[in-house]
């Protein structure tokens, strides 16, 4: 496509350059006067050649290649993952497994996956450039595409449809892993959260449940069953926070929960003003949620 475009572009510019060299002189010696020939040139370059190129482009891209981006046929996949777009994070559900996570999607390599996308609020668009096309996440509608990774690796994805204040910070990661590793990971996130062990982490759990966090977040196996924010059951197992905005380290986590609006202005997560001690405790609790 680029080569053909290049030929067309430089061909047309070459004609203009000829015009430049012929400036202030009457038209080309063999063309200038013959209107039939000139019109013929317009028809040749403006109609005939484009028709050939366009038909070829249409057949190759829209008839031959297009089916590769189609939604998977029913029964052609063995696993369904639903991703739900929220302002501004990704809720990820493994259908039939009872497993839920957020912002990081693990998939087995060389396994076609039926990816269903939905939205909880405005229109988002699910896009992992290296794995497949964009697919819009539209409220009230479920779209699906096939997600297929040929080899193991981490693939960055991001929201591609403008969705408000933090559209720029709505990214995610897809981890394509060998089947055994993926199975182990899935088994891990199906388990409820571990109970905190250290004294500070236990204080943190109490603060989490009593001071507001639990209203929006779910931690499976505890009283926290909020659904407005991402599921935190295995937060410590994730590499990033706030939809791939900052790394998941205790330092960044503290900054994030203490003052979310400075990290990601406009995020739906409020700063709760709890005092440094409680925040440290909550960080201690969350970092244990492997």
């Amino acid at each position: 496509m680029l080569v053909v475009a290049g030929i067309i572009f430089f061909g047309a510019v070459a004609m203009l350059v000829v015009g430049w060299f012929r400036r202030d002189r009457p038209g080309l010696p063999f063309l200038g006067e013959n209107e039939t020939l000139n019109t013929g040139l317009v028809v040749l370059f403006g109609m005939a050649i484009p028709i050939v190129i366009l038909v070829a482009l249409f057949i190759v891209s829209d008839l031959v290649l297009l089916p590769e981006t189609d939604a998977p046929a029913a029964g052609s996949t063995t696993m369904t993952v639903t991703v739900i777009g929220h302002q501004w994070f990704w809720q990820v559900r493994y259908e039939g497994e009872g497993a839920e996570t957020a912002n990081e999607i693990h998939i087995p390599v060389r396994t076609p996956i039926n990816l269903v996308v939905r939205s909880a609020d405005v229109i988002h668009s699910f896009w992992v450039p290296e794995l497949n096309r964009k697919i819009d996440m539209i409220p009230g509608q479920a779209n699906n595409i096939e997600l297929y990774a040929e080899s193991a690796g981490v693939f960055r994805g991001q929201c591609a449809e403008f969705c408000g204040l933090q559209h720029a910070h709505m990214a995610f990661r897809v981890y394509a892993e060998p089947a055994p590793k993926f199975k182990a990971w899935l088994a891990g996130i199906k388990r409820p959260a571990v109970e905190p062990t250290g004294a500070e982490a236990q204080q943190g759990q109490r603060a989490f449940m009593e001071d507001g966090c639990a209203a929006c977040h779910t931690i499976a196996g505890t009283a926290a069953e909020g659904t407005l924010g991402p599921n935190l059951t295995h937060l410590a197992g994730r590499e990033t926070l706030a939809a791939d905005t900052i790394p998941n380290t205790p330092g960044y986590l503290l900054r994030w929960i203490q003052n979310p609006q400075s990290v990601k202005p406009g995020t739906k997560m409020p700063g709760l003003g709890l005092g440094k001690k409680k925040y440290d405790a909550i960080v201690a609790y969350l970092t244990e949620l492997r």
């Binding site: 038209g27 080309l28 370059f45 089916p67 590769e68 409220p139 408000g164």
Partner: protein, 634 residues
Amino acid sequence: MTVTAPAATDVRLKRLETIWKESPGVLGWLTTVDHKRIGILYFFTSLFFFGAGGVEALLIRTQLIGPNQSTLDPATFNEMMSTHGTTMIFFFVVPMSLGAFGNYLIPLMIGARDMAFPRLNALSYWIFLCAGTFLYVGVFSGNAPSAGWFDYVPLASKAYSPGPGIDFYALSLLFVGISTTFGAINAIVTIFKLRAPGMSLNRMPLFCFAFLAVSFALIFALPALSTALVLLELERLLGFHFYIPSAGGDPILWQNLFWIFGHPEVYIIILPAFGIATSIIPTFVRRKMVAWPLVALAEILVAFLGFGVWAHHMFAVGLASATTIYFAAASLIIVIPSGIQLFSWITTIVTGTPRFQTPLLWIVGFIVLFILGGLSGVTFAAIPFDQQTTDTYYVVAHFHYVIFGAAVFPLLGGMFYWFPKVTGRMYNEGWGKASFWLTFVGTNITFFPMHILGLDGMPRRDYTYGPEMGWTGLNLIETLGAYLLALGLLSVFVNLAVSLFRGAPAGNDPFGGDTLEWSTTSPPPEYNYAVIPKVSSPYAMWDVEDREEDARNLELGRKTLEQGHETAASTAVDAEWDEILEMPSHSAWPPLVALAMSGVFAMVLLQQWLAAAIFTVVLAVTVAGFHLKEPEEA
């Protein structure tokens, strides 16, 4: 042949001048119905919005100059991005091309003395001014829209955009749509009915074909937008449900309605530019256009086909494959009429005797940018490619090549080309060429790297990006390019402003132009032509014998219509003498109607329903006044 004394000619001109005279001073501008003055008002008003949109663009580029910048906070960035697009499309390009260029030039090119409906024309302008002011009252009061220029729901619904920004957007677009509809109707009737007798359709300048096609496209496209906006405001202000899925609505309805308007709008933006190109090229290459009938047909075909392709903006929405394939094929077909025009321009230039003066330079620049924008445009019809590049900077690159490169460059070229006609003075040629090169280089530095960023995955409308993405270098280059581009544009307008006072006198026809406007004085008198011109080809000005006949007719007092405020009307196709039209003269009603209409829109925005009803009554009164027959003047 009897030759009357020149004194008789002078008497005739004097009489015409008296008949067509408008009030002096500010009052004259407020009450004018002269298409040339209205064109000038349109020019300066849309130029102001060009400046505003330009400042917004520079703010956006400054925010993106490096990773994690904080020149603009995310909310302000989204407002600037939304307002930039809305302003440039609805309040700059369309009013500049149709309002300023169309208004000023259509009657001159067809040998008429005014537009068909002069008062309606004034009303279009005042509504446009009020609608633009309406939007910017929102912007300056901190209530700019922030859901992007295509304003997708549910992001634009009350739940996710609770402030009045979206209402300012929706109501100002409804408001300006009234103006554009009036303008389009006026242009159609003018072109069909007021052509100088003899100018049958096959002798009409291609410029007018382009504007005719655009005006028809507007009349059919705008209702879709207005419908979408009315439904949105019913939902936002009165709690109706059209787009909210939880209440049985459909957010895709908005997208369909918006793009049924939005894609024809692309051709509405670009066709006037094509028309300007087909005016400038023959003059500067000293030859007639190659394949004239094909170009005329192509202009109309583009406007028509533009209605069948809207869903190519929606290939990622999850439409059925059969639907996307149809829209891809339809989009590819549009390449053909565009290709015809493109190669007609190129062949004409190559086979002519080109003089690369400033106006032609802008047109050559336009051709180069249009090819690039067109080629990247074709790639979107390859659906799998579109599904990767849509909503990335690749699209941003594409439509800036098309809208800025292909639509605005000819407008700038046209400003240089007709500057001597409008002002009677010449612009500075060396400076004009320098401005062109600055702008051309700036445009490419700004927009070309966006292709690469888009292919590398940078989404459009991100208010920032991280350093780890590797997008820093190209973004820096783009921003510097944008500053260069701004400098180029600034130099254009400084040149024109200085030349307005210091330019050398231009004379009637400084370039050897091909169309009628070059036969009258610069600037043209209020009545445009003392004699209804004789026309026997699309290159009327080059038909020397016809122009000599006009001069004889003036001396003899033939076809001068000097008994009243009159112009000639002819039949729609063959342009045979039909009747002599009595034209309305200046009126204070158009600005009053526009003001009353502003009151209605403002009260709807504020949800003051009683006040809105009162303003509606006031509006009805002013509309009645508008229709009053003016008192007979002695």
